[in-house]
Symmetry: C2
Subunit: 195 residues, 2 copies
């Protein structure tokens, strides 16, 4: 790994952290440079535009999400156990161990839901992928005999995402100390009705 790639990765880590707090539009070159402790122009030389920066931050966030949420879950057994792991890792990811402001995709989803362009396209692709992965995990749980055979896996993904998003709201905005417990309760109800 060359020096340039090294600092570029360091920049992207800072950028992910900032974007998780103030969003991808709120992310500024000057502020990012200050955070990374380098000059604005020196930093900007690594990207061809701000949009390119935003796209690269999104790509970095996807890699981080796979490493921190998806990969660990695939080390536990198929079916319901894996879905449980997925959900717990997902909540932990949202709690901000990696990014102080929580999941950057939640931020991005709301910033770009009415803002056409390449960044929105990338966010949509990322979320579609993730929703699809949840549905696939549910299908595996069906195949394993954990979930009932007529379960609507897309509906399962929809409802699981809802629990996560409500957790985000209660945890981040409302500062509800019981947020995680509420999410778990809702999760159990969803699992129960999927059996």
């Amino acid at each position: 790994m060359t020096k340039g790639e090294d600092t570029r990765d360091r920049i992207l880590q800072h950028a992910m952290a900032i974007a998780s707090e103030v969003g991808f539009e709120g992310l500024s070159i000057g502020g990012l440079a200050k955070s990374a402790e380098m000059s604005k122009s020196g930093l900007f030389a690594h990207f061809e535009s701000k949009e390119d920066l935003q796209l690269q931050v999104l790509a970095a966030a996807r890699r981080s999400f796979v490493d921190n949420v998806v990969a660990p879950s695939f080390r536990v057994g198929r079916g319901e156990p894996r879905i449980r792991a997925l959900f717990e890792e997902w909540l932990t990811w949202e709690e901000g161990r990696v990014t102080p402001g929580g999941c950057p995709f939640v931020t991005a989803s709301h910033e770009y839901d009415d803002r056409p362009g390449p960044v929105r396209d990338a966010v949509v692709a990322a979320q579609r992928d993730w929703v699809g992965a949840i549905a696939t995990a549910a299908q595996i749980a069906i195949d394993e005999g954990h979930f009932r055979i007529d379960l609507d896996t897309d509906q399962f993904a929809f409802e699981l995402f809802g629990i996560f998003l409500s957790f985000h709201l209660y945890y981040r905005l409302l500062d509800d100390p019981e947020a995680r417990q509420r999410a778990r309760t809702a999760f159990e109800r969803l699992i129960e009705s999927s059996r």
Copy 2:
């Protein structure tokens, strides 16, 4: 109503629309002035700062939410029917008949969940109010005998909010034409388990 109050209201309508699309931070005085077809300074004279503008937009959004979502629901019977009406009106509100970008509070919630200050405080207050109103509606449904007596009304609010937020994501970002149907299905499952 004096002339000044009249145009101030008109400004707030434009501002609500813009904020629902690009957020409260993305809202700019210049852009708003262009939308309202008046000069930047003339518009700014109605507010003592941008933050004051943001707070007034939030207040206007609350009034609009009460008019468009809460009030109609209170014209139907207490208990489960009212909760059904509340939910349907809420989804319709999100679909953007009033504000093109959907619910301004969803936007604001994600913009300010990591941004301390008076605006965040106002958003938190608004959302706490609404969550409380949902829980109260659930309590009424218990009193009416529609819901089971040991139902956790706060948990009910948490889960209902989750369905709404997932609807937001599927409808606005993923452009899922079945979003509303998915929300309804999840809603029915929640109601069923509350009886």
